[in-house]
Symmetry: C2
Subunit: 347 residues, 2 copies
């Protein structure tokens, strides 16, 4: 075995330097020989195991969700959906299983799904993949429980790595003390975030860019940071309005060091009339209409809330690779998985 | 709660009768109210948990594999691949991650992936889905170890259900004694199977049809049955030739009661020249060529075995829903998952 871990004075081992090779997405098979990639693979595997361990402990049921969907598989951005010819009908590769999980909370209470999420991102960079693993949960319950579940899941993921991957962490020169998370995670509202970012030109109603997210995380001591209650206008149509301020929704983004937004979460609206109204007003729906879509694309979902009773439920999507970025301390998401997929991928 | 389990004299409870509703794939959301579907969901979840429990125990690493692939994501049948326009290039929705996992066994020894497999099956029936969950493992090692891993995985899946889903099994009137598997699983060779099926018109070299598989399983006492050493000509190009009889490969299909073929498995060829030759001669490759494909589609995979050393490795794909069929005792695969996907699916 030619690869031996040597702790350098800087605290960076051989493995860490090898990670820089892993930005390459074409001819990926050339990189499989690097032990740094093997360590990344084992860490990614543990992160998934840690998430599931939490879900099983809490009584979540794993659901097999569809990945060829109508527009109900879209997140916010219809324009980055891959299209599939489904026996003569237009379908999309799912970006999220959220709506498919949501309707089941009514009966199964707590559900989760882990699988690929597809985004037709036309440029290769260090932040975006065209296919990545999304960890999604939905459950009957509200905002506080939601934030607890997210915190519990992230903690369980990181703990699994600390338990199982000591050698890999050392080989990659990762300071484990950085992974000791302080609980509960710090929370600020979107409005508070905007105040902090005011001298960076951020105004209320703007979406936060990744360097804003990074600034906020640094500002609060390089620990996981919840930013809650975003403006309704810039968020997904079914995020539930706040009862006291209807310009914001009961949402939470979890920002992590290195990756920024790693989790998007919210209480979900379940009133049929409100859902229909919010959908029709949404930017997403206008984009869908421009592409020839209509309200019919959301038929099954809207009909469910018309025909069956809805109850308060909440959920989130956790971008696995964003958590891996945090654990590995890497700015480049392509270094955080075995087969990172972007426009340059040729396998 | 209106649904109460009533054990009838026939051994069939209310839940079992409700299962018949679950063949419906259009307007699927109408079925979510049925407690029989909730029981199926929980059982499916346990089967997945059981498979992973086995993989973790045996030291397998979970790999995130790509689902938008070149022809290297094809199983035997190129003609049932969904095409995706990948930024102007032709790509497919993966039917298998096998080749993507195989190359990693060289370094990570034992790997697995669980995710969607896509087949553009143009007709709706009780045996085929256009999207289903495939459980795949690849590891360094040979035939005996392969059969042991399959047996261990299936046993762990079923055990998890027996452990966690007693109430669901009772509600669905499933006789648990049927799920007590006798170990080791019975094995016959393909040639022995053909002898047994001779008076059904089966000749050596024919593929076995689902009613043949069902007959064999019945013949051997309605227990899991391995059929090994299929003719090379009708199997995937990289299945490894048998050293003593080069007309057959070191393959194994696991047949289960109710579902028939639930697992396809084999030792894998790793010699570059042989792989290239076998690929060029394969039916799959001829179909690919007719569709405008070429050897270039297999570039990364073939180059890997040209440029890096290969070693003996083996693996299998387990169709989750086929195992669910066995557990539930159902002939119809559409009744065995929450969101069965076929040409009629409209969500």
């Amino acid at each position: 075995m030619a690869w031996v871990f040597i702790q350098k004075e800087t605290g960076n081992g051989i493995g860490r330097e090898l990670l820089t090779h892993l930005s390459q997405t074409s001819n990926r098979y050339h990189l499989f020989k690097y032990p740094a990639l093997h360590a990344v693979a084992r860490i990614e595997s543990s992160l998934l195991a840690g998430a599931r361990r939490y879900f099983y402990q809490k009584g979540f049921t794993e659901i097999t969700i569809p990945h060829i969907t109508r527009a109900t598989g879209a997140c916010e951005n219809i324009s980055t959906m891959f299209e599939v010819d489904f026996f003569g009908k237009r379908r999309y590769l799912a970006q999220t299983g959220q709506l498919y999980l949501e309707v089941l909370t009514q009966y199964l209470e707590k559900v989760f799904a882990i699988g690929p999420s597809f985004r037709a991102e036309p440029s290769a960079d260090s932040r975006h993949l065209v296919e990545f693993t999304l960890i999604e949960i939905e459950f009957r319950g509200g905002f506080e429980e939601l934030l607890n579940h997210i915190e519990g899941t992230i903690a369980s993921m990181v703990d699994e790595v600390l338990m199982r991957n000591r050698a890999d962490l050392e080989y990659l020169a990762i300071n484990s003390s950085r992974l000791k998370l302080s609980h509960p995670f710090k929370r600020i509202t979107y409005s508070e975030a905007v105040e902090i970012l005011a001298d960076k030109g951020v105004r209320w109603g703007d979406d936060l860019k990744s360097d804003h997210e990074r600034y906020l995380v640094k500002h609060f001591g390089d620990q996981p940071l919840f930013v809650t209650h975003y403006p309704k206008k810039i968020k997904f149509f079914n995020m539930r309005e706040n009862a006291f301020d209807q310009t914001v929704v009961n949402s939470a983004d979890l920002l992590l060091p290195y990756s920024g937004e790693a989790v998007g979460a919210a209480e979900r609206e379940f009133d049929h009339a409100k859902l229909t109204k919010r959908l029709l007003e949404s930017t997403m729906f206008n984009l869908l209409r421009e592409k020839g879509g209509s309200l019919e694309d959301f038929d099954w979902y809207l009909n469910f809330y018309k025909e069956y009773q809805g109850t308060l439920h909440s959920g989130c999507g956790i971008g696995l690779n964003r958590v891996t970025q945090f654990v590995l301390g890497l700015d480049d998401i392509r270094q955080c998985t075995v087969w990172p997929m972007n426009i340059e991928s040729d396998s």
